[in-house]
Symmetry: C2
Subunit: 298 residues, 2 copies
């Protein structure tokens, strides 16, 4: 009996929430649509998975048995798909490059040009990651190499090559009082509300909130942004301020937002990263192209 994995995903959502309305919200569909689909799943399998009343939802024994299996199946499928994409990229000689925000800044173009000169038969596919994933897709295998901003999660088995280091600046609403400073004193930012990266980003989040520089002074997080676009929009609308790399200031202009240097704050380092177990020659060659572009011929 075949089944659409979508239905399994729906079932898992309901089984986890034990609440159709909430599960439907989580899945971005209407509650009746969800009710109908789960019922359809039960019909297709000829099994009752849930006991519902207008007040309570609970799993049957069958539902209980199916839940972990369904989770597993969805995970396995996701991994299969990743492996398949990797095979496809390899076959048509496409190097998948992940990046975040403005990648390697002005250096990016040079790097890609240098790589293309060295290996003209390879194609490059650039994909921008959301802030929730500081490994830019290396973690889940959706890219082969990535321009990452340190720190990356330590538990990831990544090889790193530092490409550059640049000061962190602060982005402020234009009308903000601190915007008058040429260089904003770090101490003056301690009580400002910050736009933060998502919690899943771990140590990365702390870095961009400058937690270690605050010496225990608590952070006010006023909003969370998934990307530079959301971040800059939040700042322009006065929700708060945020640190960023100097080069980002050149890439993300927007009326209503100004960028200023900050004193007493460590720089941001940009690195090329790849999975340590990925020993492909093409990776080494991309790293070499990066090194060549980063340190112009003496």
């Amino acid at each position: 009996m075949d089944v659409d994995l979508r239905l399994l995903r729906y079932f898992v959502a309901v089984a986890e929430e034990l609440h159709f309305t909430r599960a439907a919200e989580r899945l971005f569909i209407s509650q009746p649509a969800l009710s109908k689909q789960v019922r359809l799943l039960e019909t297709q399998l000829r099994l009752k998975l849930l006991r519902r009343s207008s007040r309570h939802v609970e799993l049957t024994a069958a539902g209980n048995a199916l839940l972990p299996q369904a989770r597993q199946l969805l995970d396995t499928w996701s991994e299969s798909l990743t492996a398949t994409r990797a095979a496809a990229a390899e076959e048509d000689r496409t190097l998948r490059v992940g990046f975040i925000t403005n990648a390697a800044g002005e250096l990016t173009t040079q790097i890609l040009a240098e790589f293309t000169r060295r290996r003209p038969e390879w194609r490059i596919s650039m994909s921008q990651a959301l802030w929730a994933d500081p490994t830019c897709g290396l973690r889940d295998g959706s890219v082969d190499v990535a321009f990452v901003r340190l720190p990356v999660p330590a538990q990831e088995p990544l090889a790193l090559r530092i490409l550059l280091s640049e000061p962190r600046w602060v982005a402020l609403p234009s009308a903000h009082p601190l915007a008058r400073h040429e260089v904003v004193p770090f101490a003056s930012l301690l009580d400002e509300p910050f736009i933060a990266t998502p919690p899943e980003s771990g140590t990365w989040r702390d870095f961009w909130l400058a937690v270690s520089e605050r010496r225990g002074h608590p952070v006010r997080v006023s909003a969370v942004a998934q990307s530079s676009e959301e971040w800059i929009e939040a700042i322009a609308n006065g929700f708060g301020v945020g640190f960023t790399a100097e080069s980002t200031a050149r890439f993300y202009h927007r009326p209503g937002v100004v960028y200023r240097p900050v004193d007493e704050i460590s720089p941001s380092r940009l690195a090329l990263a790849w999975r340590r177990e990925d020993r492909r020659r093409i990776i080494i060659e991309f790293a070499a192209a990066c090194a060549a572009a980063a340190s112009p011929a003496a």
Copy 2:
């Protein structure tokens, strides 16, 4: 990205056949439908899985990577479903009983009555297996206990309790010359064409062709039947003859078919079987009910 497992099944079929038309036949759909669905799969995954020309079909690297994963996913799902069904049966106290052809013959009713008397809160679900599976569903876990005809595949870890032994008879087209005998001599059947069980049934097939009694005399198999109904239909239409249990003769009357005892042939033994690792009390109790019904109170 979710996917319908049906599409994966389609892909696997094409990948195995490397031929859309043949794969479509195997899947019992039209060739254009299959072409469209495989293309849809590729579109959904944004991957080319197959290179097609009007003359050749071959896998891409992506297709090659996906194929084993897809097979695995389908198998895993099938097993999950079986486990879930078992949980459902357990919860609503349903004992799933497999059987083949006429189960335990006239004894069946008594057994079920006895079991129901002893454990009235349990329900019984009877499901008839096709001849391709002499374990009657124990192998794949779709039943809890089964009335099986020996021999059962030896490699299956099954517990067995012999319930009865009865002579094998032969079924003949009414007009067949041998139908004149009261008891058909085994030797006279050596060159008759036989309706056989499917090859997957293994040693069971040999037993019902009486291979060991033939002492090396080759068998003529004129047709294969998946069930008693197909079998009796084939015999009535004169395609051949076949051995069966004596009790089956009483359960499957049909104009155009006659049953006769055969000499010099070993009997058929019927057993109750279950998975050896299944230690549930209810299994033991069903076995006890069978024993009680099989050997009426002294």
